[in-house]
Amino acid sequence: MSDRFRARLIAIGFLALVFVAAPAALTAFGKSYYWQVADLALIFALLAGSMHLVTGVAGLLQLGHAAFYGVGAYAAALLATKAGLSLAFTLPLAGLSAATIAVLVALPTMRLVSIYFAVATLAIGQMLYLIMLNWVEVTKGPNGIMLFSGMKFAGLDLSRPLPTYLVVAATVCVSLFVLHRLSHSYYGNALRALREDDQCADAMGVDTVRLKIEAFGVSGFFAGVAGALWAHTAGFISPPDFSFQTSILILAMVVVGGLGSLPGAVLGAFILILLPEALRPFGDFRNIAVGVVLFASILFVPKGLIGEVSALDFARRQLAGAWRRDGAGAEIGWR
C-alpha cells in the first residue's frame, strides 16, 4: 500500500512539475527563450516515447524516426497555411499522415531482420528528408515554411508563452498516457515477445507481422503529433530539423533512459535537451560535456537510467493500480 502511495505520489509529482512548477518558474524568469526550451523538451519527450514503443519494446531498430516527425510537421504547416486549419485539426491529421506513411513503409520492410531493417529505416529517413529538401513547390525546400498565427484555436489566441506551453504539455501528457497503456499492458508483452524471439512468438499464435506494422504505425502517429506541435510552436520549420542527426538524438534519449522503459525515454529526452541548455555558459565546451555524459551513462548504466524491469514494475503495480489481487493475495494481472 505504501508502495502504491509512493508511486501515485511520483505520478502526481510529475504532473505537478509539468503543469504547475515549470510554468511558475518560467513565468518568474520571464524569458521567452526558456519557454521555447521547455516546449522543445516536451516535444522530444513525446518523440522519445514514440520511438520507445517501436525500438525499446518491439525491438525494431528505427534510424529514421525524425522523418516521421518531419512528415507531421510539414502536414501541420501545410494544413495550417494552405487550408487555414487550426491546431485542433492539424494535430490529429499530422499524426494520421505520419502513421499512414509509416505503415506504407513498414509493409515491405517488416520481413527484414535486425540490421537490415535498421538500414532500411535509415534509407527511408533519408528519402523523406530529401523530399522535404527538394520538393520545392510544396515544401519550399531549404527555405522552410513560416506559420503565421499558428497558435489560434476557436478564436482564442494561444500564442503567448504560457498557453502555448500548456497546449504542448497537455498533448504530450495525453500521448504519453496512451503509449503507457500500450507498452505496459498485455499488448506490450506481445510486442516484447517480438523483440525477444519473433519466430517463437509466432508459434504462440502472435501475429508478428501485423503487430510490427501496428507498432510502427502508432509510433509514427505520435512522431507526427510531435511534428505538428513543433510546427505550431516554433512557427517556422525547415528540413534540417528532421535530419538523420535528429533521429540519432532521439535514439540516444531512448538508450540513455533505458531501452524498453517509457519513463526512461522521457527522462532521457529531458536530459539531452536541458543539459546542453544548462551548459550554455560554457560555450562550445558544452557539446563535449554532453558527449561525455552520453558515453559515461552507456558505460556505467548500460540498461539505462530507469531500466525496463523497474519501469515495468513501477508502471504496472502502482502507477495505474492495474494489478488486481484475488482473495488469496495473488496478482491477477493487468486490467
Binding site: R181, Y187, D197, Q199, D313
Partner: protein
C-alpha cells in the same frame, strides 16, 4: 477421433530429403513418441506440423481441416502448441510475461483492448497464465526474469508457455535433453500427468527409457523415413529399428 493426420509429408533442403513421405495419425487424447537417430528428421517433422517450415510435398490435417500452407500463428491458434529442442524462452521478460504470451497470442489481445483496459480479456489471460505457472510450480517466482532461471526450470517455463495456449495438441521436442536422471524422472511423471488430464501429446525424445515408459505408441524415423509405428514393445523388437536406431544408440 483423429486430431492430427500427416499424409506423405516430404521436406527437401536442396538435395537432402529431411522428411521423406512420412504418414502418421495422432488421435485425440493419445500420447505418441517420435524417436530416431540424430538427423532423422524429427525436428523437421515437427516444424512441418507447426508451420515453421513449408512442405515440399504431402499434406497435414488438424482437427479435420488442412493446415499446411497456413501461417505459423494461424496454426498455433487452431490449437497446436509446441516447445523447442534448443530452448527458446524470452530471456528479458519475467516468467509471468513469458507465459502470458501464450495466452495473448491465442486470445489476440490487440491495442484497443489494452487502451480500453478490457477486463474480460485481461482476466482470461491472467487466469490462464497463473494456472499454467502453477501447473509447473513456478508461480512463486513469477516476477523474476527468465534469464535468471536455471536450465531445468527454463524447460518447464517453455512448457508452461505452451500450456497457456490451451492447445489441443502439445508438441514437445526433446524436453528431457540436458536433464539428469532424477529430473528426467520428474519430467516423465509431469508429462504422464498432462496426458492423464486429457492432453494430446506428440513427443520427440532421445531418452528411450522415457519414451517407452510414457508413450503407448512410438513412431520411428530414420533418414527421413518412417520405419516403424506401434506399441513400444513391438517397436523395440523390430529388427529394422534395432539395426538403424537402437544399435547406433548402444554404440554411442
Amino acid at each position: 477421433m483423429t486430431l492430427l493426420q500427416v499424409q506423405g509429408a516430404t521436406r527437401r533442403f536442396g538435395g537432402l530429403i529431411a522428411v521423406d513421405n512420412v504418414s502418421m495419425d495422432v488421435a485425440a487424447g493419445e500420447i505418441v513418441g517420435v524417436i530416431g537417430p540424430n538427423g532423422a528428421g524429427k525436428t523437421t517433422l515437427f516444424n512441418l506440423i507447426s508451420g515453421f517450415t513449408p512442405l515440399s510435398g504431402g499434406e497435414i490435417r488438424f482437427d479435420g481441416a488442412r493446415i499446411d500452407g497456413e501461417k505459423t500463428f494461424a496454426i498455433a491458434r487452431k490449437g497446436v502448441g509446441r516447445t523447442f529442442q534448443n530452448l527458446r524462452i524470452f530471456p528479458n521478460m519475467s516468467l509471468f510475461d513469458n507465459v502470458s504470451v501464450g495466452a495473448i497470442g491465442m486470445l489476440g489481445a490487440g491495442p484497443l483492448s489494452s487502451l480500453r483496459r478490457d477486463t474480460k480479456v485481461a482476466t482470461e489471460i491472467a487466469e490462464r497464465t497463473w494456472t499454467a505457472l502453477e501447473r509447473v510450480d513456478l508461480a512463486r517466482e513469477a516476477h523474476t526474469l527468465a534469464a535468471n532461471l536455471s536450465y531445468g526450470k527454463r524447460k518447464y517455463l517453455e512448457i508452461a508457455r505452451a500450456l497457456a495456449m490451451a492447445p489441443k495438441l502439445l508438441i514437445l521436442d526433446e524436453p528431457a535433453a540436458g536433464l539428469n536422471d532424477s529430473e528426467t524422472h520428474t519430467l516423465a511423471a509431469f508429462i504422464r500427468d498432462l496426458h492423464a488430464g486429457g492432453m494430446t501429446v506428440l513427443l520427440v525424445e532421445h531418452n528411450m527409457a522415457l519414451v517407452m515408459s510414457i508413450c503407448r505408441r512410438v513412431v520411428v524415423l530414420a533418414s527421413g523415413r518412417k520405419i516403424a509405428d506401434g506399441a513400444p514393445d513391438a517397436v523395440r523388437a523390430d529388427p529394422l529399428v534395432l539395426e538403424s536406431y537402437l544399435g547406433v544408440e548402444e554404440e554411442a
